[in-house]
């Protein structure tokens, strides 16, 4: 329609102030949708990271801490669990399955996790998903390794690539287990969980590379990879273990039993309830962030109102000319509303584009340091409603200058003397 053309060209004529307004709306949209996306996806990730595991057992610490370091690989274990205790508990008749976890080493920034082949059998994420191999098979030899999707992707690893593990989480040149390289035998499919960023090896492998280490340093007595293979390689301790029960009815009594384990202080947590309480703590923070973002969006819209109001005087003549060539007085209101819609929609599009660009850039960083896996998704219904409400608000706000200009143009008529 011609009025839209006029509104567009008129807006282009004032593009500096309007594009600044558009930019501020775009930024507030980035903030609002960004916070919303992160909070939703973070929640999703957290909830989906582990499922169908009844208990996680580790050294005594806060339940959240145990969950964070054992499953999310955030932070470090406070203490270990003796392998003897693990075997004792795993052998209890209530326990259907158990999977040991041994953490502490890394490979080029990715965590290394020692476990056994039961991990591939029992670990579940996103409700019922088990781990699937994109290529290769699970580890069978001491020096075999399976890598997560992101590890293979970002380091460009194929099957049979030789990798060297690092002692500790921070890689230094002097802490490499370079005498005992591992061979990649399997690459996992993407799971959107910390598994994607993990190198999986057998417990024996973890044992082998540490067999000639003492107190975090390589001892003078070197043992070759071949020799290590011949040794017992029974681990003395592990970081934590996951277990499933035969019957849910026994879950609480088993938990109590583990918590009162006579040989060493242990703690068993239920991942579901711990996830929920973790999310509750973060939920408060999330609400504050959302409130701040809503306020920022509101500020952006007020900026739009200011930009429209400040142009009222300079546009007086424009309105008179339009009236003289046949525009009705209500067309003047429509012009202001159209302008607001143009600026806000432009801000939305720009903001959404920025949001996606930022998500693409932030993805590896967030995954790396916070264990949050953002996937680029379409806007969900709630977010579209947020945008529509903002648009509606902008239209309502634009009625203020629109009505002022309308009243003025009725008063001025065609003959504005400026």
């Amino acid at each position: 329609m011609k009025l839209l053309k006029i509104a567009l060209k008129s807006a282009c004529n004032r593009k500096v102030s309007l594009s600044l307004t558009m930019f501020s709306i775009a930024i507030s949209i980035v903030l609002l949708l960004g916070v919303d996306t992160i909070r939703k996806q973070a929640k999703n990730n957290f909830i989906n990271t582990i499922s169908q595991t009844d208990l996680i057992v580790g050294a005594r610490t806060s339940p959240i801490n145990l969950l964070l370091y054992s499953i999310f690989h955030i932070g470090n274990a406070t203490n270990n669990v003796s392998y003897a205790s693990y075997k004792q508990i795993a052998a209890l008749k209530q326990v259907k399955w158990s999977v040991p976890i041994s953490l502490g080493d890394s490979h080029r920034g990715f965590r290394v996790m020692g476990t056994n082949s039961d991990y591939f059998r029992y670990y579940r994420h996103s409700n019922t998903q088990s781990l699937h191999f994109q290529q290769g098979v699970e580890f069978s030899d001491v020096y075999d390794a399976v890598v997560g999707f992101d590890v293979a992707q970002s380091l460009n690893y194929q099957l049979n690539t030789q990798i060297v593990l690092n002692h500790g989480i921070v890689a230094t040149k002097y802490s490499e287990h370079d005498d005992k390289p591992f061979r990649i035998v399997g690459i996992l499919k993407k799971t959107n969980t910390p598994v994607d960023r993990t190198v999986l090896v057998s417990l024996q492998g973890i044992e082998a590379i540490h067999v000639d280490w003492q107190s975090g340093k390589r001892s003078a007595l070197k043992i070759s990879a071949k020799k290590a293979r011949q040794m017992g390689l029974e681990p003395k301790s592990i970081t934590a273990f996951m277990l499933g029960v035969e019957s849910k009815i026994t879950l609480f009594s088993l938990q109590r039993k583990i918590n009162n384990h006579p040989n060493e202080p242990l703690q068993a947590i239920m991942p579901g309830s711990t996830l929920a309480s973790l999310w509750q703590t973060m939920g408060q923070f999330e609400k504050v962030l959302m409130a701040v973002s809503v306020l920022v969006l509101f500020t952006g819209l007020m900026g739009l109102l200011t930009a429209l109001l400040t142009t009222l005087n300079e546009r007086r003549r424009e309105m008179a000319v339009l009236r003289a060539v046949g525009a009705h007085a209500y067309h003047i209101i429509v012009l202001f509303v159209l302008e607001a819609i143009l600026v806000v929609m432009g801000g939305f599009l720009f903001g959404i584009a920025m949001l996606y660009a930022m998500q693409a850039i932030m993805q590896p960083i967030l995954a790396d340091s916070y264990g949050i896996f953002l996937s680029l998704k379409m806007l969900d219904g709630e977010q579209i409603i947020i945008l529509l409400v903002a648009l509606l608000l902008a239209i309502i706000l634009s009625l203020i200058p629109g009505l002022i200009a309308y009243k003025r143009s009725l008063q001025d008529g065609l003959m504005v003397k400026i």
């Binding site: 000319v321 209500y330 400026i418």
Partner: protein, 233 residues
């Protein structure tokens, strides 16, 4: 004598916040095809007269017939439509929208009026023809408005008033920003173009020097009794 296209009878107007009439015209007739010059000093009610003649303001008493239509009975939207359908309006200055090209500026009435659009035929072509007849070089058609001289801008405004052949052209001091050479040339072009499409011209100005060019001259202070009483008081 030809028929009256505009007829005022006993028209009285005041702005609602004022206690006094600003316009009180017993009889004013504008005839078809004439070039009428309405001369008035500032404060004599020129602007009010034009606002009433174009249906922007409505009198509280009296009748105004424009092209046989009683303006005082029209709703705001009807009078807006009537205005764009039948009147071409030229301002003192700043007639053009700076963000539209010359051609678009000239076509504006056709965007809002189906009647003007139909009468113009191909509006873009009609606009280009009018601009050429008003001596605007073709090379300027796509230039921004502010690259034009004042005289050129006013001629573009004439083209816009003329497009779609409205019956009446109303000009509000269009020459006040022009020097005397340009003024004469502007008037010649304005006359020849309005005559060409058989439109009536109502030209309002304070400048009595240009009165001789017109077929008829009216002094507003003589027909507006509201002003006389104010002067006498």
């Amino acid at each position: 004598m030809t028929a009256a296209v505009i007829q005022f009878s006993n028209v009285r107007f005041r702005y609602s916040e004022q206690g006094q009439d600003v316009l009180d015209i017993t009889d004013l007739q504008v005839h078809q095809g004439e070039h009428l010059f309405i001369q008035g000093a500032s404060g004599s009610g020129k602007t009010t007269l034009l606002n009433i003649m174009t249906g922007i303001n409505q009198p509280y008493a009296g009748k105004i017939q424009v092209l046989g239509k009683a303006l005082q009975n029209l709703s705001a939207i009807e009078s807006d439509r009537f205005r764009v359908d039948n009147l071409g309006i030229i301002f003192q200055q700043f007639n053009l929208l700076p963000y539209l090209s010359l051609l678009e500026n000239v076509q504006l009435p056709c965007w809002f009026s189906a009647k003007r659009r139909a009468q113009a035929g191909n509006s873009k072509q009609a606009a280009a023809e009018l601009l050429q007849q008003l001596h605007i070089p073709k090379s300027m058609f796509d230039k921004p408005v502010n690259a034009l001289s004042m005289g050129q801008q006013q001629r573009v405004a004439v083209a816009r008033a003329l497009i779609g052949k409205p019956e009446i052209i109303i000009a509000d001091e269009p020459t006040s920003a022009l020097d005397s050479d340009n003024r004469k040339r502007f008037l010649d072009l304005l006359f020849s173009q309005t005559d060409k499409q058989n439109s009536t011209l109502v030209f309002v100005s304070h400048d009595s020097q240009i009165a001789p060019y017109f077929s008829r001259t009216i002094d507003l202070s003589e027909i507006n009794s509201a002003i006389d009483t104010e002067y006498n008081a």
